[in-house]
C-alpha cells in the first residue's frame, strides 16, 4: 500500500508539472480558442473559404469575455447571466454571419477573483470587450485594470450610483442606477400606498444597501417613519424578522436579489398573519419564483415575456436552458451592445482595437432592445433615460400599475 501511494504521488506531481508547463504556455498564446472540438459547421466552412476567395468580405471575428458568479453562493444569478450571454452570442452569429466567441470568467462575486479574471481577459489580445462584472464592488476592483487596458466593460447588474461618476472611462451599464430606482419606489409608497411606516430590510450586499439608502432618504424626507433591518442572503429562516413587523408598518421594502428568499418571506408573513404589503426591487422581478399575492415590484423594463418581439428569444432560451428570472435579459442587452459595437467597426473597415470598441460602445444608439427600450449611453456610461415601472402581483401574474 505504501508503495502504491508513493508511486501515485510521483505520477501526480509529474502530471502537475507537465500540466503547469503546458498551461503556462497556453496562457500566453491566444491563437487556440476554447471548444475547438466541435465548431459549428457554418463557421468552419466560412473560415476555410475566406482565404480562397479574397474578394469575399472578411468575417467579423473577435472574442468577448463575460464575468459572472458562475459558481459559489451567488451561482443562481451568474448561471442565468452566463447562459443569456451565450445565447446572445450564438443568435448574433447566426443572424449576422459573424464569428464572435464568448470566454467565460467565474468571479464567485469575490472582487479578488474578479481582478484575476480581469487580468486574464486583459492579457488576451483577442478579447475586445467584457460583459460584466455583476457586482458593484467587483466593478470597483476591476476598474483600474480595465482602465489601463482600455477595455470596454458593460455591466448588467452593477447599480451603485458612484460607479458612473466619471472615474471609470471604459465602464458602461445597461441598467439604471440606485439613485433612479430608490426615489421612484419611495415616491410610489408615499403617493399610492399612503405609507406611514416602512420597514426596509437589506440583504447585506452592495446592491441592496445602496438601494436601501436611497429609498430611505426619500422616505424620511417626506416624513415617513423608516425602520432599517438587515439580514444575510444565506440565512435559513426569516420568521424572527417577520415577527418584528408591527401593526403600524404598512410597507416592507425588500431590495433583494434572491426571489426565492422573498417568496419565503411572504409565506412566513402569511403564516404569522402579517398584512403589510411587500415592495420588492428589480432584483425580485421574477414571475416564476416570486408570486406573493398583492406584492409590488419595480423594474426598469417590462417583463420580456410580455413583449411580442421577444417571444422567439424567450422560447429559444427556455428550450435550451429552462426557466429564468430577472438577471438574464439585461445580460443579453449588454452582450448585444458590445457585439454591435465590434460589428460596426468591422463594417466601417476600421481597425479592431479595444480603444475603438470603447468609442463604438459609447456611440451605441439602439432604437430598441430586448428590454423593449432604446439603449444609449450618457457621457459617464449610464444608460440614458432609465426609468422604472411598478408592477403588482395579481393572481400570480405581474400587472403594470405605474
Amino acid at each position: 500500500m505504501r508503495r502504491f501511494e508513493r508511486r501515485f504521488a510521483w505520477w501526480a506531481v509529474f502530471a502537475l508539472i507537465v500540466a503547469a508547463c503546458g498551461g503556462g504556455g497556453q496562457a500566453t498564446t491566444t491563437t487556440e480558442g476554447p471548444g475547438t472540438t466541435a465548431p459549428p459547421a457554418t463557421a468552419a466552412t466560412t473560415t476555410t473559404a475566406a482565404p480562397a476567395t479574397t474578394a469575399a468580405p472578411q468575417v467579423c471575428e473577435a472574442k468577448i469575455g463575460v464575468m459572472a458568479p458562475i459558481t459559489g453562493p451567488a451561482a443562481s444569478i451568474g448561471e442565468e447571466q452566463r447562459n443569456w450571454a451565450l445565447l446572445a452570442v450564438d443568435l448574433y452569429n447566426e443572424e449576422n454571419g459573424t464569428n464572435f466567441e464568448l470566454v467565460e470568467g467565474d468571479t464567485q462575486l469575490d472582487p479578488a477573483q474578479a481582478s484575476t479574471v480581469a487580468q486574464q481577459f486583459a492579457a488576451d489580445d483577442a478579447i475586445l470587450g467584457v460583459v460584466g462584472p455583476a457586482g458593484s464592488q467587483e466593478v470597483e476592483a476591476v476598474g483600474p485594470i480595465f482602465t489601463d487596458a482600455e477595455m470596454a466593460f458593460v455591466s448588467m447588474s452593477a447599480t451603485r450610483e458612484s460607479l458612473t461618476d466619471g472615474s471609470l472611462p471604459t465602464f458602461f451599464r445597461v441598467v439604471p442606477h440606485d439613485g433612479q430606482q430608490g426615489p421612484t419606489d419611495a415616491q410610489f409608497m408615499i403617493d399610492e400606498l399612503a405609507a406611514s411606516k416602512v420597514m426596509i430590510i437589506d440583504d447585506q450586499t452592495s446592491y441592496s444597501t445602496g438601494l436601501a439608502d436611497t429609498t430611505a432618504a426619500t422616505l424620511e424626507a417626506a416624513g415617513v417613519e423608516v425602520v432599517r433591518e438587515s439580514v444575510s442572503q444565506d440565512v435559513t429562516d426569516f420568521s424572527a424578522l417577520v415577527a418584528k413587523i408591527d401593526d403600524a408598518t404598512d410597507v416592507v421594502f425588500l431590495p433583494w436579489q434572491i426571489a426565492a428568499n422573498a417568496q419565503l418571506f411572504g409565506d412566513q408573513m402569511a403564516e404569522q398573519g402579517k398584512d403589510a404589503v411587500i415592495f420588492g426591487s428589480d432584483g425580485l422581478f421574477s414571475p416564476s419564483d416570486f408570486t406573493v399575492e398583492g406584492a409590488y415590484v419595480s423594474a426598469f423594463a417590462p417583463d420580456i415575456r410580455g413583449i411580442p418581439e421577444d417571444a422567439d428569444l424567450v422560447a429559444a432560451y427556455e428550450a435550451q436552458y429552462g426557466d429564468f428570472g430577472t438577471f438574464g435579459p439585461p445580460t443579453y442587452a449588454a452582450t448585444v451592445v458590445l457585439l454591435d459595437a465590434i460589428r460596426s467597426l468591422c463594417d466601417s473597415g476600421a481597425e479592431l482595437t479595444r480603444a475603438a470598441v470603447v468609442d463604438a460602445v459609447r456611440a451605441t444608439d439602439q432604437a430598441t432592445s430586448i428590454l423593449g427600450q432604446p439603449i444609449r449611453f450618457t457621457e459617464n456610461g449610464d444608460v440614458d433615460g432609465g426609468r422604472f415601472f411598478i408592477f403588482q402581483i395579481k393572481g400570480g401574474s405581474y400587472e403594470l400599475v405605474k
Binding site: 459558481t71 459559489g72 453562493p73 451561482a75 443562481s76 451568474g78 448561471e79 442565468e80 430590510i201 432599517r228 433591518e229 438587515s230 439580514v231 444575510s232 444565506d234 440565512v235 435559513t236 429562516d237 420568521s239 424572527a240 424578522l241 415577527a243 418584528k244 434572491i258 426571489a259 426565492a260 428568499n261 417568496q263 419565503l264 409565506d267 412566513q268 402569511a270 403564516e271 404569522q272 398573519g273 419564483d289 429552462g322 426557466d323 428570472g325
Partner: protein, 305 residues
C-alpha cells in the same frame, strides 16, 4: 408576551434543524475525532432528494398521492440518499486516512464538499428550487392562540425532530450497536481488542449521522422552502458550531447546542437588531466558550501521561 412566544416557536423550529445537523457532526467526531466538513453537503443532497420525490409525484400544487404519504416518502428519500452518500464518502475519502494526521481528513472533507456542491450545480443547476409547502399546506392553518400562530408544518417538523432524537437516544443507549458505538468512542483500540468490529461501527455512525442530516434537509425544505446547491455550507457551519457548543462528541450536547443557537438567533433578531444578529450570536458564543471551555456537556479529558 406573544412576541416572546412567537420567537420561541421560531427559534425551536430552527434549533431542531440545527440540532439534527449537529448530531451527525458530533457522532462522527466522538468516534473518529474528525470534523466532517462535508456533512452540510450531505444535508443538501437530502433536501434535493426530497424535492425530487415531490416533483416526481406531481409537485406541491397538485400531488398525485395524499399529502401525508407524500411527506413521508420525501423524508424516506432524503434519509436514504443522504445515508448512502455518507457511507460512500466515509469509504472513499476518510477510511484511507484513518491513521493519517488529524488535519488530513479535514482537507479531504473540504474536497468532498467542493465536489458535491459543484456536482449539484452541474446536475441540477443553480436556480433556487422551492418545495412550495405553502401551496401544499395552507400556512395559515395550525394552532392559533390569540395572536400566536404555529403552522401545522412547523408542528410536524418539531415533532419529527424530537422523534428522531428519541429514537437515536434509544439506539445509542439500549442497543448492542449503541453500546459498540459508545465503546469505540471511548477508546478505539480497546474496543477493537474486545472484539468490536470498529470499521462496521464507524460505517454505522456515518450512516446514522447522514440519515439525520437527510431528514434535516427535508425539514428545511418543508419549513423554509428553498433548496439550492450552496445551502449546506452555512448549515454545516451552524451544525458544527452547535456541536461544539454542546460539547463536541456528546449527543445530548449536540441537541441542546442546536436548540440554543436556534433560539439565540431568533431572539437576537427579534429583540436587539437583525443587522447585528450574527455578531450578537457569535459574541455570546465566544463568551460562553470562554466561560465553559468544553461546551455544555463536554467532560474534561483526563490527561494521559
Amino acid at each position: 408576551m406573544e412576541f416572546f412566544l412567537q420567537q420561541l416557536v421560531n427559534g425551536l423550529t430552527l434549533g431542531g434543524v440545527y440540532a439534527l445537523i449537529a448530531l451527525g457532526y458530533s457522532m462522527v467526531y466522538g468516534i473518529l475525532k474528525l470534523l466532517n466538513f462535508a456533512h452540510g453537503d450531505v444535508y443538501m443532497v437530502g433536501a434535493f432528494a426530497g424535492y425530487g420525490v415531490l416533483v416526481a409525484f406531481g409537485g406541491p400544487a397538485d400531488p398525485r398521492i395524499p399529502v401525508v404519504t407524500l411527506i413521508v416518502l420525501m423524508f424516506l428519500a432524503g434519509m436514504l440518499a443522504s445515508g448512502i452518500l455518507g457511507v460512500v464518502i466515509e469509504r472513499f475519502a476518510y477510511r484511507p486516512l484513518r491513521n493519517a494526521p488529524r488535519i488530513a481528513p479535514l482537507i479531504s472533507a473540504v474536497g468532498v464538499s467542493f465536489f458535491l456542491q459543484n456536482a449539484a450545480l452541474l446536475v441540477l443547476g443553480a436556480r433556487f428550487r422551492s418545495y412550495g409547502t405553502a401551496r401544499m399546506v395552507d400556512p395559515a392553518t395550525g394552532l392559533q392562540w390569540g395572536p400566536l400562530r404555529i403552522s401545522i408544518i412547523r408542528i410536524v417538523v418539531i415533532l419529527s425532530a424530537v422523534a428522531l432524537m428519541v429514537v437515536l437516544h434509544l439506539l445509542v443507549q439500549r442497543t448492542k450497536l449503541g453500546k459498540a458505538m459508545r465503546a469505540t468512542a471511548f477508546d478505539r483500540e480497546a474496543a477493537a481488542m474486545m472484539g468490536i468490529d470498529v470499521d462496521r461501527v464507524i460505517v454505522a455512525t456515518f450512516l446514522i449521522g447522514s440519515v439525520l442530516a437527510g431528514a434535516a434537509g427535508v425539514m428545511v425544505g418543508l419549513v423554509f422552502s428553498r433548496v439550492y446547491h450552496f445551502m449546506g455550507f452555512v448549515a454545516g457551519l451552524k451544525g458544527f458550531t452547535a456541536a461544539v457548543i454542546g460539547g463536541i462528541g456528546s449527543i445530548p450536547g449536540a441537541m441542546m447546542g442546536g436548540l440554543l443557537i436556534g433560539l439565540a438567533e431568533a431572539f437576537s433578531a427579534g429583540y436587539i437588531s437583525s443587522t447585528f444578529q450574527n455578531l450578537i450570536v457569535f459574541g455570546l458564543l465566544i463568551v460562553f466558550l470562554l466561560a465553559r471551555p468544553r461546551g455544555l456537556f463536554g467532560v474534561p479529558e483526563p490527561v494521559k501521561v
